[in-house]
């Protein structure tokens, strides 16, 4: 096991998969960078967050493709290349930008297999950076995954740590269905142990980084980090929780959630997104319809407010659910 950053784990995953299968290509803005620059230096960025650093030198310009600022063409070209036998990774720099290429994601890539009667597949991975916490303002800080989770035909991965990031990305690249892969910007520098050698994480299998009896906490992406903090802090107060990290929100491992609820009877769901039609309220809805009998208290949703992401540090801090909000919700639910 090596201790690796989330960024490095993703980079490793791409190196490994691109070596393993020459059909894998990556395309996006500045995924290498430097094309047409006066220094002549390629890989001037390696992805604006450095995630695709170095790929161009090993795999060349035909497989590591810098594109103009044309997200519909980035996704469309990925989807079209997938229909034509490649296994593309299309990078959308910030998840917020799916607005300019949404059609290619939800009407095209997601629906090909169904519309065409199962006669094709679209093994496209869309990698994108999401989330608040860097004071980037309303158009560079959203989570976005809620609006894609409901789209039939897409799979949605939201890793919370480096090991899962690597294992899920490798699985995504090998998966024959289109996958949207959300990377929280605030996690890129976080480290954890990542298993050596081939490491794959199956879709639809939640992780349970904490186990306990009093409450089930479901948290997504970076919120897992905050939930761990909250839960660890509640030990003193004698409260213990199951913490469930779904890792993929579509498919969603409801079984693990339902099983946990059977013994805790209490549920807190943490999602960095605004509340309406979020994955938090979705999971709550699923539980209220399919595992109602297990519930011994109202479900608590800990989410961002129904507001865009504000710029000022103080407001953005208040916007994001934090460990304190989570701890408070757990206590309330447990005492209900």
């Amino acid at each position: 096991m090596a201790v690796t950053t989330f960024r490095q784990a993703l980079n490793d995953a791409m190196f490994e998969e691109m070596r393993r299968d020459e059909r894998v290509i990556i395309l996006g803005e500045d995924v290498s960078g430097g094309a047409g620059g006066t220094s002549g230096e390629r890989d001037a960025s390696g992805g604006i967050f450095g995630v695709s650093k170095g790929l161009i030198f090993e795999f060349g310009e035909n497989r590591v493709i810098d594109t103009p600022i044309s997200e519909s063409a980035i996704i469309g070209a990925g989807a079209g290349a997938a229909l034509a036998g490649l296994r593309p990774i299309s990078e959308i720099m910030f998840a917020d930008f799916v607005g300019v290429c949404m059609d290619q994601i939800y009407n095209q890539a997601a629906k090909f297999r169904y519309m065409f009667g199962g006669k094709t597949k679209c093994p496209l991975v869309i990698r994108t950076a999401m989330g608040a916490g860097m004071n980037m303002g309303a158009q560079h800080s959203q989570t976005i995954y809620p609006i894609l989770t409901g789209v039939p035909g897409l799979k949605i991965a939201v890793p919370s740590n480096a090991a899962d990031a690597k294992g899920l990305l490798k699985t995504a690249i090998r998966d024959d269905d289109p996958v949207v892969f959300f990377e929280h910007k605030a996690l890129y520098n976080r480290k954890c142990e990542v298993p050596d050698g081939e490491h794959l994480v199956e879709f639809g299998e939640a992780a349970m980084p904490r186990e306990g009896d009093d409450c089930t906490v479901v948290a997504i992406g970076r919120m897992v980090v905050f939930a761990e903090k909250a839960i660890d802090g509640l030990k003193e107060a004698g409260i213990s929780c199951d913490l469930i990290d779904p890792r993929t929100v579509s498919p969603l491992d409801t079984e693990t959630i339902f099983e946990s609820l059977e013994h805790t009877g209490r549920l807190v769901i943490v999602d960095e997104s605004p509340p309406r039609c979020s994955v938090a309220s979705d999971i709550a809805g699923i539980v209220a319809s399919e595992a109602f009998g297990s519930l011994r208290a109202p479900i608590k949703l800990v989410t961002a407010p129904h507001a865009p992401v504000p710029f000022a540090r103080e407001l953005e801090r208040a916007y994001m659910p934090g460990p304190g909000d989570i701890a408070k919700a757990i206590q309330e639910v447990v005492n209900d």
Partner: protein, 323 residues
């Protein structure tokens, strides 16, 4: 004019005629309430689809539009499977799940019709990346209408194809209208080819009613693109013989416009006149094709009508390969 032998000429005629009769028959079937949904007929534009696709092999790719039947037939899709699809039958080309606007046939390099205007060209860029990386001289063709050339996705696709020097060919069929709006209103430049040139690729404007004009221009486009020089655009001026969709009252067209076009701009008539005039093909030979084609369409309709609808269990299959 390109030298095509008799077989090639009869083949081209057969494909154009098949499209024509397929569509004319659909028009009747729809009027009689046999077919549900939203259908856009290609009658009148056949010379474009066939003039372009007669250059292509099964492993060249095309992407198509909401008005896609012609492109499918030109690219070699099974006509009976298509009819069944449009009828919504279990054994249709896409199991009845796609319908008129979503026919695809991957064995034929037909990557799909598309009900989103401008949805296809970005996909063709991707297919052209696959072509380029394979290095096998294959190309990808994106069909689009005059209206589609106002959709941002189409511009992005053209620019990206130029930047990456891809073997992608953009074929714009200017049939005079996007829905109920004339091209001279909606295309600010009133000229599509020059727009494409603005993106840095060569473009030609050709008479889309003339199979030979299209065929020859496509030969030049292929020479360019297969030669590694990047994308090429064709603007083909043509006309549609029916409404935008079936049921369209066409109030935006002069009373006799379609009649005039059917008289003077019918690509099949023009083709026949050209090839019989110089004696390359006889009227009898063409008439024999007509008979064949009508029989095929009749069979297609009969089989489609006799086919079962998809089983309800198909509702949730094919969403994913695994989930």
């Amino acid at each position: 004019m390109t030298e095509l032998d008799k077989d090639a000429l009869l083949g081209a005629y057969r494909r154009m005629k098949t499209i024509r009769e397929f569509e004319e028959r659909l028009h009747l079937e729809i009027q009689q309430g046999q077919i549900a949904g939203f259908t856009h007929l290609y009658s009148g534009q056949e010379a474009v689809a066939v003039g372009v696709c007669d250059h292509l092999a099964d492993d060249d790719y095309i992407v198509s539009t909401h008005r896609g039947h012609g492109h499918c037939i030109a690219k070699g899709c099974d006509v009976i499977g298509m009819m069944k699809e449009i009828y919504g039958r279990a054994d249709g080309l896409c199991k009845g799940k796609g319908g008129s606007m979503h026919i695809a046939d991957f064995d034929k390099g037909m990557l799909g019709a598309n009900a989103i205007v401008g949805g296809g060209p970005p996909l063709a860029v991707g297919a052209a990346i696959a072509n380029r990386n394979a290095g096998d001289g294959k190309v990808s063709v994106a069909f689009g209408g005059d209206g589609s050339c106002n959709q941002g996705t189409v511009f992005e696709a053209m620019n990206m194809a130029v930047v990456l020097k891809l073997p992608a060919i953009f074929v714009f069929e200017d049939n005079g209208y996007s829905e109920h709006t004339g091209v001279d209103y909606a295309v600010g430049s009133k000229d599509i080819a020059s727009r494409c040139e603005g993106f840095g690729m060569p473009a030609e404007k050709v008479n889309g009613d003339d199979f030979f004009a299209v065929f020859d221009a496509m030969a030049r486009a292929l020479e360019h693109s297969r030669g590694g020089k990047g994308p090429f655009a064709l603007e083909c001026t043509t006309t549609r013989f029916f409404g935008h969709f079936e049921g369209d009252p066409q109030n935006y067209r002069a009373k006799d416009e379609v009649e005039q076009h059917r008289e003077n701009r019918d690509c099949l008539k023009i083709f026949r006149a050209t090839v019989t005039a110089d004696g390359r093909v006889s009227d009898d030979e063409l008439n024999a094709v007509d008979t064949d084609v009508l029989a095929l369409i009749e069979t297609a309709v009969e089989q489609a009508q006799a086919s079962p609808p998809p089983d309800v269990s198909e509702l949730t299959t094919d969403v994913y390969i695994s989930y």
